[in-house]
Amino acid sequence: MDTEHIRNFSIIAHIDHGKSTLADRLIELTGTVKKRDMEAQILDTMDLERERGITIKEQSARLMYKYKDGDVYELNLIDTPGHVDFNYEVSRSLSACEGAILIVDATQGVQAQTLANVYLALDNNLEIIPVINKIDLPSADPERVKKEVEDIIGLDMSDAIEVSAKTGFGVDKVLERIVEQIPAPEDKSKEPLQCLIFDSIFDSYQGAIAYVRVVSGSVRPGMDIRMMASGKVYKVTEVGYFSPLPKADTELPCGSVGFICASIKNVHDCEVGDTITTAENGATEALPGYRKALPMVFCGLYPIDSKDYDQLKDALEKLSLNDAALEFEPETSTALGFGFRCGFLGLLHMDVVQERLEREYHLKLITTAPSVIYKVYRTDGEVVMVDNPSALPPQNNIEHIEEPIAKVDILVPSDMVGAVMELAQNRRGEFITMTYLDTTRVTLTYRIPLSEIIFDFFDKLKSSTRGYASLDYQLDGYQDTDAVKLDILLNGDLVDALSVIVHRSNAASRGRSLARKLKDIIPRQQFEVPIQAAIGSKIVARETVKAYRKDVLAKCYGGDVSRKKKLLEKQKEGKKRMKQVGSIEIPQEAFMAVLQNDE
């Protein structure tokens, strides 16, 4: 296909505005997948993605579309992850395109991620086709939403397409407009090879497979290629495209989108954002925009049964083959034994990895509370990055500490501004600006310590605004903080996995509320368990979990045995989610409770 007949595009939207549904309709309408083979939302392939209704791994599809002039066009759809955690991946996917379809929900209008995504698309000079979705809903108000988009974003909405991705109404117009409005890729077929990696997956037979956009030159099996960031060289074994299942082809020409297999050992060797060129006489410059995926949130993962350590290690290795952003290294905890410190892009990423470990690898895990990376300036002049509270140097060796700050944009109806401000202030937020988007809606911008938003900020925001607020955030440097380590002692022993770094101003009250919470969470054992919270050598709180005194089945004869045994088994099963620390059974919630500061 000559570049004149290629169109590369993404679909961008706020979460739940119908991105995957529209993608499905496009695939269906172009006959790429026969209707009877359509599974709802075929682009979200992981079970988890389908269950949560979000896209984590990007997928692509080549749609062959016969335009009304009779010509056949190759439309390459590049799906983007729909969550703020994966912002960098979104930006790489967008830079692989010339255009983007912007979906706005006709009932909800502009949301925080609508804005964030539009700005990303504009940064990448994409042609934007606005689409108003869900116009079949009774509460749809396309005129209001169009006006809103014009007012807020400044896009011309006079030719916005009204569709219902669910029923298929208007979707044919979307296809036409892709051909008409999105520019064809530049023909640079004579120039040295440059492929932008916008995603990669791991296949147990082929190794890591790079999903690429060929920006210049072309790529064929047999060619020697070089990863420009790592400098590593590979021989291409196969190229092809997605329909949406991968199909091998003889060549990926300039302008097109597809995959490259080259016996690459793992996804870390084919990083998103990197440029592929030829080993000999390659491009001299990489495509702009590459950066290493940096984890922002860290937590400890420990097998409940220490026998499972090797299995956990295997599983993490396997997952990281397919997840360049996942980092892990062995760590030991006196309380939890051997485990791993793992780094994630964000909370959702962490959740997804944890759930996959449990679901796909049948591991029972304890996750310690997520932590951000603190920059600790020691009195001896050294600077250490601390992502684990128990690794914080002793107080007198610390000169000062810096913590990561996020710039948070919150879009909220104007009558709920008060609730959001209160929440942001409780989380040590620093107010930056407030902008009225129109008469009813406001964008609030705050700088909030990342540690204050990684855990339940989004939930709290949603509940304090009855679900109306939407949020987008990005990292905005480090800032001095007066942080201290809060320790928890159970039965007189320090449980390192329960330690947490908190701000001094509320350390004592956090300690008291945490001790109270743990008292409710830690089940009563056959002996009394004192809970203490300590800052340095000072005990700031004490609670006691009382022992239970009597628990025994009174009646048990022949006929009862199996039923009584089931009761015992149920009792035992309940403890399987708990970790034995010393002689105390600690449930998973205890490790998470340290982050909830909803007093």
Binding site: Q526, Y548, R549, K550, D551, V552, L553, A554, K555, C556, Y557, G558, G559, V561, S562, K565, L567, L568, E569, Q571, K572, S583
Partner: protein
Amino acid sequence: MLSPESLSVIMDTLHQCFSIDRQAEITMEMNPCDITADYLSAVKGMGINRVSAGVQTNNDTLLSFLGRRHTASEAAAAIRRAYRAGIHNISLDLMYELPGQTVKDFEKSLLWAVHLPVNHMSVYSLIIEEGTRFGQLMRKGLLQRPNELESWQMYQAMCRILPHYGLERYEISSFARKGYRSRHNMKYWRLDDYLGLGPAACSRIGHMRFEDVPGIRQYIRALLSGKLPPEEKTELSIYEEIEEYCFMHLRMREGFSRKAFEERYGNPLETYYKDTVEVLKRQKLLREDEGMIHMTPHGAAIGNYVFEQFLLT
């Protein structure tokens, strides 16, 4: 209540099918109301030598709440009647943790019961199950059950008072005078073979467990058509049996002997339970005396925790 004639048919059939030890313990479960002089003399003649009566409490308010037909004084009279009729091996059931029952109430029940001519007692705490009448009342918050401290005091009262009057606690909920432990019940706890007959009856023979169909109509229909009533058969795996062996034996004060375990299963206890016994001993929940492993009083109070440690899966 089965008529003496029907009972006689059952006893005759049993004697035709089995050879029965002359000293056999033959118990009949009876409601206090049914213990009449005539009935007693009839059943005694058939060889029944032990009566077990569901007395529950000596508090008439609680008795009517439980839906029992008898009063405390009727129950006492019935027990004395049985004793006078020559049945000297009498057991009664008591309950605690009843809604509205105070610790004092229960202590009174215990003292009242030990002054009756009985040599065996089974004392149970009331378990309220979902779906029962009590379960519904409980959910609606209409039942006031004793709190944790009160339950604990009742339990302690039971452990203290009964032995003081010569009824030794030989199992979690069973108390007997010397020589009057229930031979029948001990078979369950020792994992001996036993045969149960009748609707819903359970049997254990070797590694097999049988459970007869629970519906009495279905049971009778099968017999009338000349067939055996349907039964559910389960073969116990070695592990399932070992679990049961341990936690059933541990219900008894004597516990079980390492040697007997090893003889029965061919391997020492540690093959199946690495350090379980040692850990429980350290926690002072188990004790071992001359090869007999048994629960300490503290262990018995939180027996479910101890039993759980013996589950293998």
